[in-house]
Symmetry: C2
Subunit: 194 residues, 2 copies
């Protein structure tokens, strides 16, 4: 196998192990030694790929955030009508949060903790732009409520994080019907009332 590919594989294994261990034990209880073991690598090797533990977790965060937004906008096209475009993005995000549960949980933990450096946090936000653009357009057309993007995100997207967490905790399972109800709630909360 090519040298480069081996390096990439090893880095990916480290990132994956970090996600899994942080999800299950929390940042405070995932030592480098365990990450190394799970990635089948010596502890010392981690330091060939990352500066230190903080750098490892920062980079993991950015990687996962990039996955998330790539997935969210994969089949979105900025020329779509507002309602259709929103539904498409929303359903992709829902898919991601419920199917790529590991990723979504990791993000939830990072986003509610002082675990990630401010700089990496900023880096992670950038990729959300297409959604903000869609809302901008929707407001102009009078389809979307003319309120802060933060409020729109809080109501249209963030609830999915909560639902993902309760689903993960086993408290209940979102089926197709629930998902449709959730979508309707999301849309109701941001669309202009007639």
């Amino acid at each position: 196998m090519a040298k480069l590919q081996k390096s990439i594989d090893k880095r990916n294994a480290l990132v994956k192990a970090t996600i899994e261990l942080v999800n299950n034990n929390g940042f405070h209880a995932t030592p480098m030694s365990k990450i190394a073991k799970m990635a089948k690598v010596s502890p010392a090797t981690i330091y060939l790929y990352f500066e230190n533990k903080q750098d490892l977790v920062n980079q993991t965060y950015i990687d996962v955030k990039a996955e998330y937004t790539k997935y969210a906008f994969a089949n979105y096209d900025p020329t779509m009508p507002i309602k259709e475009g929103f539904e498409m993005i929303w359903k992709r995000i829902a898919d991601f949060k419920l199917k790529e549960c590991e990723y979504a949980m990791f993000l939830a933990q990072c986003d509610n903790t002082p675990m990630i450096d401010e700089e990496s946090r900023q880096e992670g936000i950038k990729h959300l732009q297409p959604l903000l653009d869609l809302w901008e357009r929707g407001k102009k057309e009078g389809v979307i409520k003319p309120i802060s993007d933060y409020i729109l995100y809080a109501y249209a997207i963030n609830p999915l994080s909560f639902l993902m967490m309760t689903q993960k905790s086993g408290a209940f399972t979102l089926d197709k019907t629930h998902l449709e109800e959730a979508y309707q709630s999301a849309w109701s909360s941001i669309k202009m009332c007639k």
Copy 2:
């Protein structure tokens, strides 16, 4: 001062220090020694009040969750009409999350991390019953959408956590108008459409 009161004060100081340090540094970076120092107490004294670090953080979680729900339902009366009752509870919760930011942040961190024992987590949920009862009644009366409580919570209440976090991060400030918009979004997402 009475012995009992002194004990209570000391315990409260420890709980308060825990909240503050965990909020600012994360669980992984708040050693017992710092908690002790901030509470103006010897590290050894912590162990007179709590079994160990895990117990300290569990109890802190339960304390804060109790504060939260006490505040939320302080002036709610189960005989109120649905819409009015919901508005009252919602606004109290909003108040709490935005004014008692320290508490709310701590809860957000606990709720998205494996930092708290499952048992304490269950304990914390209990106090939310009045809201679930209100929804139950609302569904019977055809005022509230007949969907899972988890989905109702995800849309009606949880967005406030997100807004609290962005407000805390300094990204934007919720003023009275925003709050009213947010309330309308919350209500829109759970009320039956006519």
